[in-house]
Amino acid sequence: MNSSRNPDMNNEGAAMKSNNTFRRRTGFWLGAAGVCISIGAVLPTSGVSHAASVTATNEEGMLCTTDGTVDPDTNLPTPTFELTATDGYTSEPDGNAIYDWGYSATGAFQLPGPILCVNEGDVVTVKLTNNLPVATSIQFPGQDNVTADGAPVGPVSASQADPSKGIKVGDLASLVPEVAGHTIPADPLSAITYKFTASQAGTYLYESGSDPQLQVQMGLFGAIVVRPNVTITADDILKIPADGGAAGVSTNGTFKRLGRDGTTIDDHMTVDEANSFKGEAACAYAIKPGSATCDPLAIYDGSRENILMLSEVDPGLHTYMEQNKSTPDNLTWNKYPGAYEAHYFMINGRSMPDTLAPNKAAWMPGQPYGAMAHVQPWDVHANPLDVLLRYVGVGVTGYDFHPHSNHEHVIAEDGALMKGAATGNDNTEEKFNIMVAPGSTVDATFRWTNEEGYSSTDDNRLPVAWPQGLNMTEGDFWSGSPYLGESGQLNAGILGKTQCGEYYHVAHSHDLTQATNYGITFGGMLTLIKVEPSDQAQKDLKLDCGTD
């Protein structure tokens, strides 16, 4: 398609590329069985059923929840989502199970809440039904004209609030109007309807506005992705910044770049090539809000769109809330007798290695979103479209997220393209560390270039041969060969989780205490970037990477 208007664009694209991934990935998951046993599945989850609008499963990439409702009068799209706040369990790779609260589009507990994908200008309706014992709500930072049951949102005084709730501080009960808790089983669930205008494309957070210190920590958060109404042209694609993206290096319409000797490497894509990529291209931001022209900085591969909601969990706090489920007055931050201390750190509600598992992995019913980015070597002619990563900071501290193997190109923060409104200056920047502040979002594009093109063919080998056997310690995500698309013999005991000589690069919080599961390394807020051989290489080498 040549437009990102279609809310299902991502899902189509990813489905197109990853039919076999699920089987494959499950395969290597069995190889890792034991670290990813989930008991979440067998623990009780409560919830009522709602008409859900979750799109068809795709195994990797951002999994959108969309709705095609159109206002019969205005004929304008008015996406409508029915969310239920309910409780349930998530699993940790070390075997722990955590009691959480979450927003669900199906009534069945999930964490984080659904990723609501809408289009710029849509008037969005979110009906929140509360199946929790405490009053709760949703705040929509960055959205405009937010109303609750028709009235502009604002702080709610306790006198207006549900008396059953525990908070009585000053006069403030909630940052936004809320819905009463469900304490008497016989009673029907209460609901509240929020409306807002998604007036600017971007990545946004939604979270509880009631006792947020507790309720967001308990899992009441999710993401909203607002897509621009743009048509991507071949000319836009020709203007994607050059490899390296250094300021002043990119020349409009070409991939010219300065070589180290200062000579210009003029390796640009043809208009025909640009046209051929329009179908796979998607756009995160128009040149300015409301415009129909996509900003070339924000063009990405529609099948390579990822979201990383970064959060953390204090298991002690969650256990206390679990034990006090039936005592609503105790389900407030101030009633927790302990001191907050996070021991688990998540991406999309999962900790490494669960972050690698496919979307909707059967063994993690409450944690439907994976977080492994997938990329093929960037090539101006064959693979010029970047991966998009949407970071959402749900933590109580900033997270410093470090992608290995290349800088990421930060194009937007808090739903605003980093361009001078008046000057048009390009303020985007390449970072090898993405700072995601609390309550903030960051959008970044990523590409990996096989810079040296090392291979086992003559004159392309590594400059230095390497030790063999027990003279090196091998990792489970290492193919046995340093060359992309090649594999080699592994020492005994190495699990060999690669499929086709693909590379794996880690991406993780560089507060390394957060890249652990309760202190155990190679866990927590960490995932992998899968670098597989190009489609052409897979054909030439007869490789099956399970994705084409």
Partner: protein, 481 residues
């Protein structure tokens, strides 16, 4: 609504704060049952510009003389309507031009802000309470040449040239106890506005051409109860300062305040629908703050008194300890009146020393109707011009110790004008110009007399008038030397 807090503010605004320094946008306590859209027909205690310019006492060469005192104070944090989570926390604060040591305040409080226009030379007489080391007050944002102790000022008057426009902090710098003093809250705010701001009664950030109808300081401070009340701070384990848990993983009492108050005692920020508002975020604490605003996008104009080329639109700008961020927000013209837009540290520490929900560094932008019921008055209304009622020259004393000669001119003035702190300046009139005469500024004498040393040459005729800070000027009195 019981607006007593407001009224106090108004009174204070017109006299005390005007006579003192700093102050934040006038505001009322953050309670929510007091006013709804329907009752919002009362004017806010709105005064422009919202941050009072610092009252100078002109020095001999016309610089801006102020006093800066550093001393202890106490703040009640937590839910003042409840007992749990409520605590009285000692702090160290600054007081600009204060007459009572008890008037010190935390960053953003009424007495800890210096606001001057670009290029102003401040002559600061620094003093501190016993045990408070004020030997090195640091203005980090100002280049070295702009902050110095005058060699000719043996009494240690600190000269500070407001050479950079914007918002920044001042705080103990290199003295051996500085970290603990700052941890106790000893941080002030320096606001420097462009020499010329486009609109009268408005304020400007970095660019004098862009004015804002209203402005406010939003300064966060982290208070640590155990440290603040420790009998031996020198040996307090600072690695636990501001931490939520102690060595035994038990909760610690840490408080986060805005302008010296914790919610719900924090000041609301009064604005009018349609206003273009300038917020001066100051992180006076020791931990990162992500100042999120619910309902509006914030336009970050610059940090640390250094402007951005391109303003950046953010929902929650991250501000490091000791850093500042000047941001602009536009209140929608159709915004519904009421405390509408929350401002809160997105690290969500909305509690009182881990003891109560909804407290801490949280406040709201309080929207008032677009059209004022009565016009706004400037914050510091100038008193009636000081009039030299039928002035007579009493004495002309000749001081032979100096040459060509120092004379003292004394004139009677209307002794009913006794507003403290107002500058009374004797200046030479324009006609006839007297190139050789040098006139010095002076201070008002409540008894109604002006006593000024005048350096002149015998035989000159000089004219005297009295001018107050508003520029109102009395008639001229001639005086023959």
């Amino acid at each position: 609504m019981t607006n007593t807090r407001n009224h106090k503010r108004v009174v204070a605004a017109s006299v005390m704060i005007a006579a003192l320094a700093g102050g934040v946008v006038s505001a009322d306590a953050a309670t929510f049952s007091d006013r709804t859209a329907t009752t919002a027909t009362v004017d806010p205690p709105m005064t422009w510009p919202a941050i009072t310019p610092t009252m100078c006492t002109p020095t001999d060469n016309g610089d801006c003389g102020i006093t800066l005192f550093a001393g202890p104070g106490n703040v009640i944090v937590g839910d003042t309507t409840a007992t749990a989570g409520k605590a009285t926390v000692p702090f160290l604060g600054f007081g600009i031009n204060i007459t009572d040591p008890a008037q010190v305040s935390l960053a953003g409080g009424p007495t800890s802000t210096i606001k001057v226009t670009e290029g102003t030379t401040l002559k600061i007489s620094v003093s501190g309470a016993t045990g408070v080391d004020v030997s090195d007050i640091s203005f980090p944002s100002l280049p070295a040449g702009s902050v110095y102790h005058d060699v000719a000022d043996p009494d240690g008057v600190l000269t500070v040239v407001a050479s950079k426009v914007g918002t920044s902090v001042f705080q103990p710098g290199s003295n051996p106890t500085a970290p603990r003093e700052v941890a106790m809250g000893l941080v002030g705010v320096l606001v420097v506005t462009p020499a010329a701001c486009a609109t009268p009664n408005a304020t400007c950030a970095f660019d004098g051409a862009t004015s804002y109808a209203d402005e406010a300081i939003v300064a966060t401070t982290d208070l640590d109860y155990d440290f603040a009340t420790s009998a031996d701070q020198a040996h307090f384990d600072m690695s636990y300062f501001g931490q939520v848990r102690d060595a035994n993983d038990l909760p610690r009492h840490v408080y986060h305040v805005i302008n010296g108050q914790s919610f719900p005692a924090t000041d609301l920020i009064d604005v009018r629908a349609g206003d273009n508002v300038l917020l001066r975020y100051v992180n006076a604490g020791v931990s990162d703050k992500a100042m999120g605003m619910l309902g509006l996008r914030q336009s970050l104009l610059g940090r640390n008194a250094a402007p951005y080329t391109d303003p950046q639109t953010l929902i929650a700008p991250l501000i490091g300890p000791g850093e500042t961020a000047d941001i602009a927000v536009t209140i929608p013209a159709d915004a519904t009146p009421g405390p509408r837009y929350s401002i809160v540290d997105q690290s969500r520490q909305m509690n009182h020393g881990n003891a109560f929900g909804f407290g801490g560094a949280l406040t709201f932008i309080d929207v008032w109707p677009a059209t004022p019921v009565t016009p706004d008055a400037p914050l510091a209304p100038p008193p009636a011009p000081v009039v030299l009622a039928s002035p007579t020259v009493d004495t002309l004393a000749y001081d032979s110790t100096t040459s060509p000669g120092t004379f003292t001119a004394t004139a009677h003035v209307d002794s009913s004008v006794t507003v403290a702190g107002y500058e009374t300046t004797i200046t030479e009139t324009a006609t006839p110009p007297d190139a050789t005469a040098i006139w010095t500024a002076g201070t008002f004498d409540p008894t109604g007399a002006i006593s000024e040393p005048l350096v002149a040459t015998a035989g000159q005729t000089i004219w005297i008038h009295v001018k107050d800070s508003s520029g109102a000027q009395s008639a001229d009195v001639s005086l023959a030397i």
